[in-house]
Amino acid sequence: MTMKKRILLVDDEDEILSLYGEVLAEEGFEVLIAHDGAEGVKVAKQEKPDLVLMDLKMPVMDGMDAFMQIHDDPATRAIKVVFLTAFGDPEVVGADIKISEEIGAAGYIRKGITLDELVKKVREYIR
């Protein structure tokens, strides 16, 4: 049996986690969730998923900090992190590509896209 690819979803919105989680699960991925940046780092370290979808604005620790922690830790550096951005987030609008290049994140996905596109992009990144 081929191992299912494991995706870690980090978002403070429960319903986002359910929505994206269920869709991805239906597509055959194993889905892990975390509710904030800190939890996300913990799970990432523990479970070492194949892909992390990281929301940016979260309480306790936001996505950027969480990513930094994951990236800095040699144990988790290899993990691909993709930001979930909202269209128009001032911090990342227009700088999406730069983020991926300069910071070392794998890329970004805008939350407003259709679910089909979401799946497509995930498959692209996880490859």
């Binding site: 319903e15 929505l19 869709v23 128009g88 609008v93 227009g94 999406d96 590509i97 939350k111």
Partner: protein, 716 residues
């Protein structure tokens, strides 16, 4: 002036009077000499009458022997006629027949021996009436004049001359005429030879003496007379007039000359005194008249003019209530009336100006915005109440001072001075509003964000005489703006998650088999999906606008190939176009590569926006993309065959919330109306332009935008 007039009057009067006196004296002279001549004429006639006496004639003729008649007669006649000093009858032989002289009576029948008589005898014997000049007769030794007339025998034919009567004029008769003259003047009777023969002067030392000077002057023509002679020896001036004897009728006279001499002091004294009197009487009269004229002049002309001058001086100083009193109905009066009317007009105009000026001043003072006016040197000339409140500088502190000392404006970003635009308003005549992010530093050092603008003040000739700067506290505005922005940001942000969920779950539903079996349900869920998507788009646009307006988007500029992007965007609308049965073409892509410098994602956003608008509007025909290469830009145009845009709506195209109603009417897809506005912000941020190239109702529309081209080959 009066003295000159007086002297002039006096002199003229004196001269006139003197002339009169002169004439009178001359007249008197003529009268006197005429009298003498007439008297002598009397003798002239008298002697002939005696000669005609019958008794004398008959005695001489021998007709009467008795001499007693003749002798008696010869004694009577000198008193009856003449008077004669001597009267003689001499016969043709020269014997004295009768004589009134006793001498002769004693020497009876003597021959006349006297030379003078003999001369007379000789002449009369010829038949002429004879008269001599003045002489001293040897007979009597007295002054006289001898007359003789021939005696004719009347009873004989031819009336032969038988004798002569000779008469000596009793000189006192003549003398008397002269002596009776006014003693104030000297009357001197001269013979032609210059001998003084009668005078009215008592001390007549020159009597009967020859005066050579007189003789000389008498030989000169008569008009030389009447001169004022200066008697050198006696040392005074005298008025001398001369009257010449002309005889009378048959008596021709001896051309004697009568000189009347009056010392000027006496002659002209009356004249001078009369002249003085006249002047003394006249002068007061003249003075009085002059005084009256002066008075009239003054009151009629001078005073009104002085009045006007005084009033105009008062007006010049600024008092416009002064008026001139109108005294007369003439031109001066009219002048006064006009002057007053003019003054009244000026006062009214000044009043109006003052009222308007006050209104304006009040207006400026009551404005909520701060107003500062400076002159060409930068000195403050106006500073309203709002400015004082805002800056903390009182009006009286700032007037006349350079504005740079008072109005301190700095850029928020780098604290650099931000008042160049004010100076440039004057030097370059440009109006400028400063962008936001200017801080005003108040007198006490605190800072307030302000919005300001400066404009030059230009007069009718086009010269700048200052600048007006308006500024206001925008802290509250900014606050509000921030609140609004924050609100929108927060709201939009908050909306995104629910929208994502609605959209996402709707999408899932639509995939569910159970749903798909039920068309109605499918329809409903599709609607939910579409609208949540639309809402999502609106929210995103809001956030986009907010971000773009704050200009804090770091644009991700890169060199990329426009061509594949274009194809990509067009591809997205393929199905839509087919469904709507309209064409979608790309024209004139001259190259397969076109490198540009831009933010790829944003260019995509703009293209989607324009294509979307075009596609939505077009029901028939289609949408076409064209390209035009320019110097440093590539111009992309999206043309549709839709209904076109009216002129009114064209103005609202690229504005926030200024979307065309048609867009909403036909819009089935997402679109908040902010699309064009966002596109404009984006394109301009990338250094290009976006505009409506062409459109008219019924003829479709063409939107164009430009991107900066690059010579780099692709590089991502």
């Amino acid at each position: 002036m009066l003295a000159t007039a007086g002297y002039f009057v006096f002199t003229e009067t004196k001269n006139a009077l003197q002339q009169t006196i002169r004439d009178r004296q001359s007249e008197l002279g003529h009268q006197t000499i005429d009298k003498i001549d007439r008297t002598l004429f009397g003798y002239y006639v008298g002697i002939q009458n005696i000669a005609d006496e019958e008794s004398i004639q008959r005695t001489l003729s021998g007709a009467v022997q008795d001499r007693r008649e003749i002798e008696r007669r010869i004694k009577e006649l000198p008193f009856l006629t003449g008077p004669w000093d001597v009267l003689k009858i001499i016969n043709s032989q020269g014997a004295i027949i009768a004589s009134n002289s006793r001498q002769d009576a004693e020497k009876n029948a003597e021959i006349e021996k006297n030379i003078e008589n003999l001369a007379a005898l000789k002449e009369a014997i010829k038949g002429n009436v004879y008269y001599s000049d003045f002489l001293f007769t040897k007979d009597t030794g007295r002054p006289t004049m001898i007359f003789a007339a021939p005696i004719r025998d009347q009873e004989t034919a031819d009336q032969p001359i038988i004798g002569v009567v000779i008469g000596h004029v009793a000189w006192p008769v003549i003398k008397e005429i002269i002596e009776a003259s006014d003693p104030a003047s000297e009357f001197d009777l001269y013979t032609r030879g210059g001998v003084l023969i009668a005078t009215n002067q008592e001390s007549a030392k020159h009597l009967f003496l020859k005066n050579t000077e007189i003789e000389r002057s008498l030989s000169a023509p008569p008009h030389v007379a009447n001169l004022i002679k200066t008697e050198a020896d006696e040392g005074f001036e005298a008025l001398v007039t001369r009257a010449d004897s002309h005889g009378h009728l048959a008596y021709k006279g001896n051309q004697w000359a009568l000189f009347i001499e009056t010392p000027t002091s006496i002659a002209f004294a009356p004249a001078i005194s009369t002249a003085r009197r006249i002047v003394l009487v006249l002068l007061p009269i003249i003075l009085f008249i002059l005084f009256v004229i002066l008075l009239l002049l003054s009151s009629l002309v001078v005073r009104p003019i002085v009045d006007i001058t005084k009033v105009s001086k008062v007006i010049a100083v600024g008092d416009f209530s002064a008026r001139v009193r109108v005294r007369t109905k003439d031109e001066i009066g009219e002048l006064a009336i006009s002057f007053n009317a003019m003054t009244e007009k000026m006062r009214e105009s000044l009043n109006i100006i003052n009222i308007e000026r006050d209104k304006l001043a009040k207006l400026i003072e009551s404005m909520g915005d701060s107003v500062m006016v400076i002159d060409t040197e930068g000195k403050i000339t106006l500073w309203n109440y709002a400015a004082a409140l805002l800056t903390g500088w009182e009006q009286k502190e700032v007037i006349g001072r350079p504005f740079k000392d008072i109005l301190k404006l700095v850029r928020e970003a780098d604290r650099a001075s931000n008042s160049d635009f004010i100076v440039r308003a004057i030097t370059e005549k440009v109006k400028k509003s400063m962008e936001n992010h200017t801080l005003l530093i108040r007198k006490d050092g605190t800072e307030i964000p302000v919005a300001d603008s400066a404009a030059p003040i230009i007069d009718a000739d086009g010269d700048v005489w200052g600048a007006i700067v308006v500024f206001r506290d925008v802290a509250k505005e900014r606050e509000l703006e921030r609140l609004k922005t924050d609100f929108v940001a927060i709201a939009s942000h908050e909306m995104r998650t629910p929208l994502t969920l609605i959209k996402g779950n709707s999408e899932r539903l639509l995939k569910g088999e159970s749903i798909l079996k039920d068309a109605k349900l499918t329809e409903m869920v599709s609607s939910i999906y579409r609208n949540s998507d639309r809402l999502f788009g609106i929210v995103n646009d809001f956030l986009d606008v907010l971000t773009l307006e704050e200009k804090r988007i770091p644009l991700n500029l890169e060199h990329f190939d426009l061509v594949p992007l274009v194809h990509e965007c067009v591809a997205e609308f393929r199905t839509f176009a087919e469904a709507k049965k309209i064409y979608l073409k790309i024209d004139d892509l001259s190259a397969s590569h076109q490198m540009v410098v831009a933010d790829r994602a944003r260019v995509r956003q703009v293209m989607i926006n324009l294509l979307g608008n075009a596609m939505r509007h077009t029901e028939k025909g289609g949408v076409r993309l064209t390209f035009e290469k320019q110097k440093n830009f590539i111009e992309v145009s999206v043309n549709d065959t839709g209904p076109g845009i009216s002129k009114e709506n064209q103005l609202r195209l690229f504005r926030k919330f200024g979307s065309i109603r048609e867009t909403f009417i036909r819009s089935k897809e997402y679109g908040s109306g902010l699309g064009l506005y966002i596109s404009k912000l984006l394109i301009e941020a990338m250094g290009g332009e976006i505009w409506l190239k062409k459109s008219s109702p019924g003829a479709g529309s063409t939107f164009s935008f430009t991107l900066r081209t690059s010579t780099d080959k692709e590089g991502v």
